[in-house]
Symmetry: D2
Subunit: 343 residues, 4 copies
């Protein structure tokens, strides 16, 4: 059994890591850190784990005494880059879920995060934790940076078209997200009476995940992000201009080619039916990212759509998928839950 430790395990991503790794037959969680809850049971903040584990949190300082093969980092950005050098000494493999090592260019990082990068020399060591596009490198990578939730949906929706040269110009992304993306300490903005039923355009532009989609697709991306009524779930609507002569058949073919053998990407673009395009509500708890498209023949644009559970494929599940790739296990291991309908 591989020995795994989770840093920042009291948050929502940490909780999902605990849930998924508990059901993973090849690993055992040897430590879960939280300064705030050190000594308390992990099933306190994560009540879905009651009856499954007796694990308790340890403080961050106690991490040094832990013998772990893999470290999952679910700590805040900024803090992560400042402590990364130390983390890398603690375990052979580090899988980071913060935003700090996703962007390859420290200046773009500074522009989107508002602070200079504190460990730019470490950035090149990290591989993007998106098996669909980086599987070959992930097999041997011991520093993995899992993309953001909206970035994952956006990249998986847009990149087949971008890589095949089927679209041109700026991609306009309308991203929607549930409340769990704000984490456990959302403050007054997260209060139910305010957040319930919201259509809150919390980032009309310059959301950080925009930079990740641009980096991966090599297109200019303009993204707005809206908080919608949901706890989990991300959906992105990406409108792009088709290259001359490109039609629906080309689009479908590009998607099929890109994802034919992918275990966690389904191409959903049907002519009719309630769920003819990707929708996150049936993906809750699942590691699927559904992607789809709708071509507007009359004006030569295409709407590319991606949907996922931000805490699973857009977070903890994506990280576990990387773990499976890294250690040569079947990629679906521990990630078999298909999602629910109705839900």
């Amino acid at each position: 059994m591989l020995r795994v430790a989770i840093v920042g395990a009291s948050g929502y991503i940490g909780g999902e890591l605990l849930r998924l790794l508990h059901g993973h037959p090849r690993v055992t969680v040897v430590a879960a850190t939280s300064d705030r809850l050190a000594g308390r049971r992990v099933d306190g903040p994560h009540p879905n784990l009651r009856g499954l584990t007796d694990l308790c949190f340890i403080g961050h300082d106690a991490l040094e005494g832990v013998d772990a093969d893999v470290l999952f980092l679910a700590a805040p950005h900024r803090e992560t880059m400042e402590r990364m050098a130390g983390f890398l000494e603690l375990a052979g493999t580090v899988i980071d879920l913060s935003g700090d090592f996703r962007l390859r260019d420290p200046e773009i990082y500074a522009s989107y995060y508002g602070v200079p990068h504190r460990a730019p020399q470490l950035i090149p060591e990290f591989t993007t934790g998106l098996p669909e596009w980086h599987r070959d490198r992930l097999v041997t990578s011991d520093r993995i940076a899992v993309p953001g939730c909206m970035a994952t949906a956006g990249i998986l929706a847009v990149r087949p078209m971008a890589d095949a040269g089927l679209i041109e110009g700026t991609v306009h992304v309308d991203a929607r997200t549930g409340s769990s993306g704000s984490g456990v300490s959302g403050g007054p903005a997260a209060a139910h009476a305010e957040r319930s039923g919201a259509l809150r355009v919390f980032a009309p532009s310059r959301h950080r995940h925009e930079a990740e989609i641009a980096q991966a697709t090599r297109h200019t991306v303009r993204m707005s992000a809206t908080g919608v009524e949901a706890v989990r779930g991300v959906q992105v609507l990406c409108r792009a201009t088709l290259a001359p002569g490109v039609g629906e058949r080309d689009v479908r073919s590009a998607f099929r080619k890109a994802y034919a053998d992918e275990p966690f990407v389904r191409v959903i673009a049907q002519r009719q039916g309630l769920y003819r395009l990707p929708e996150p509500k049936i993906l809750t708890g699942s590691n699927f990212c559904d992607v789809g498209f709708a071509v507007s023949a009359d004006d030569g644009t295409v709407l590319l759509i991606g949907a996922l559970d931000n805490l699973v494929k857009g977070g903890a599940g994506g990280a576990v998928q990387c773990l499976n790739v890294r250690f040569g296990w079947p990629e679906r291991t521990g990630l078999e839950f298909p999602g629910l309908h109705p839900n």
Copy 2:
């Protein structure tokens, strides 16, 4: 125009008072206090008021300089009883929305609120702010204590039966409430990701409003309170044993008699239809309390149901209704909004 001041105007009840009094043709709001937001516009925390008013909050200390005929108190309990003597000097009429002057017996207060009452000598001066049962006294009363939201629904549902001697023994109340009842500072328990979709039995017994229903109906009351998925809205299901020989006709008659001329109580007990029994979702924003019943002939019990908007009929609207009664205005003044369907 009557001059009105609101103490504790940054909360949800305070916001509803501002909304209702803004649309009231006989009053003008001369002051709204909030220590935290002193100097800021009231349409900051109450964005539905944008474009309607330029009023700004004042600090509590500035209240002394305000010339008001009526004081609405939307301050926390404990603080209210400690400061009540001072409030009574500031205006001729005081309408209190806290829990401090609702219970007539200071010992019951101490038992339910966990602290001794600090101003027991003032309790007898207060009239219960429920026009349906205390209209005669309210006409001349200058100290009014508006009942709690669940208490209002429970009293209006149960009292016609209790007063007519149609029920016997303990009344079991199952109360459900939306998230706005917790106020603006709900803390982690109020976070959307936790509160969304909840069926949280936050008070399996001994909820404070239980004591108010018992006081008004003179029956033993056992109440549980559950937070449900809603921002506004209270519904109570009250099961009682019918007195010997009592049938559906008697029940209906008692309700009709009690509420035939009431402007804000509708008796809803139909044989069929989606809304055949009271439901808060169509009462949002309205001052109606819908009450209804379902008799179980085979076992001699009756289910008495009440529904209302906790911030309106169960709070600010009830208080404005008392104001109308006290000053001899048509009781519906400023309270005409009927509620929405669908909603």
Copy 3:
């Protein structure tokens, strides 16, 4: 009192007309038609009206015997154009809420509605029922076509910029709508278990309201429409390219100029706060359309946002506002409800 009849009064728009007109001091509703519910009380399908009215539906055939000054049409499209000639003989003023007389060009109508227009000769007689842009003509118009819900939000959000020449090129609109927009007979697609929590891209392109926004703004419009978790409410996010040299100050100025004296349009574009941009949740039941903007200085685009209640400002309320304009009454008459917070 003006005598008003409502055709198609059992639907959601019909119910809102009944609610608003009941509270309107200058009109009396003399008839409400529904073939399906003829002879039944209007407060059956519209339970929020219980206690306010004893009106019953009449069949469509009985309409001929009704003496009405104004006819509100809330009937389906197609049926409306086929019967319009007859409707125009029944009352001096006709206010139509269907889609049939909104588009000036019958060919565009045919393209978006999939059927040829059956009464193209009547189209020029109709004035667009949007007082913000057509008030002068509405004062004397007796044939009024109220725009679609998403169209109203889109036009009010985009037109100040378009008219002032501040934007260029295609406008990309991402529209979101609640479930009440589908009407009372939504079928399986409307079932709660399927529709709840949905992010259903039901029209990735070619939504009919797209054509209305294009007609009003004279820009090419590309719109997608998504059903979101809400009963009421529409929000549109419209991204456009700023003309050279245009900055935030110009944008704000254009909005201020367009709407400074408008009773039902508020410009919401603040630097911070939970409700710094337009959001429909605080507009439920209100006739406000909130519009706002966010300029992306770095890439010269602007996000124009509109929000409203689809059954009020985007339907029945807009129609009543037109009535007020037509008959020279204060425009807010019967439309004073400001909306709720929290909600």
Copy 4:
């Protein structure tokens, strides 16, 4: 591999059976019937199964040609009892999810279902499909009747107290349920705009599951059932009078004793915390039934609470658990999903 067929597989319970059995290592689904959808893929009405199976529905008539070891029946009541004799000839083991064989007494059946039982001679052949109380008989039973969703929650919450003689008299049950309990063809009552945010007391008394709880606990049960805002989830609040001298310690002990070794029942009765009592929102998709209690020492009553996912532990999951028991497999097989938090 055991060969399994599902009758009535296009409904929500049928979909959950498909989901759970797809992930079950010991069985293969050889047929899924639906007259309406015969020949169509099962992942049409069950979109969460896309990518997992290519199975298509067959018509009911084609069932005779199917070679199955086990038949799951997810057909409507009435129809089920009329066809049961035929079903029993098709497979060695029949697991029925309808209401027709749950009640032992045909007269009670007739009283609650409004029709006489058509196959009373078959009732004694069925074992109640609740392993927690009937495991010994289920090991050898080939006719299994899975209890209703609210009945399962109610029985698991009340029976430990009833069997130990710790409560007396009538048990008052307040049951709450999500919209999926009404099935796929809910009609107008199920429309999102009507059902959203509902607190619909659809059965103030005489709900059919009441009879099941009474049968299992041998207490008189008075139950009301309310539809709440949720797709999945059932919660029951059961208030009972404690027998003389019974205190919290006895209650806790009875629960611990009853469920210490149960794989799918967790006793949740904590002093504090957001999830200190059972709540269905963290059980979505899981086969857990959480049960808990709150003793009111001052008046000698106890609130017994049960929560579950109506389509899993209250339906398809309970049925699969019975399958595991019947065939001697580890009881958790195929039912490992623990539920999600936040959700």
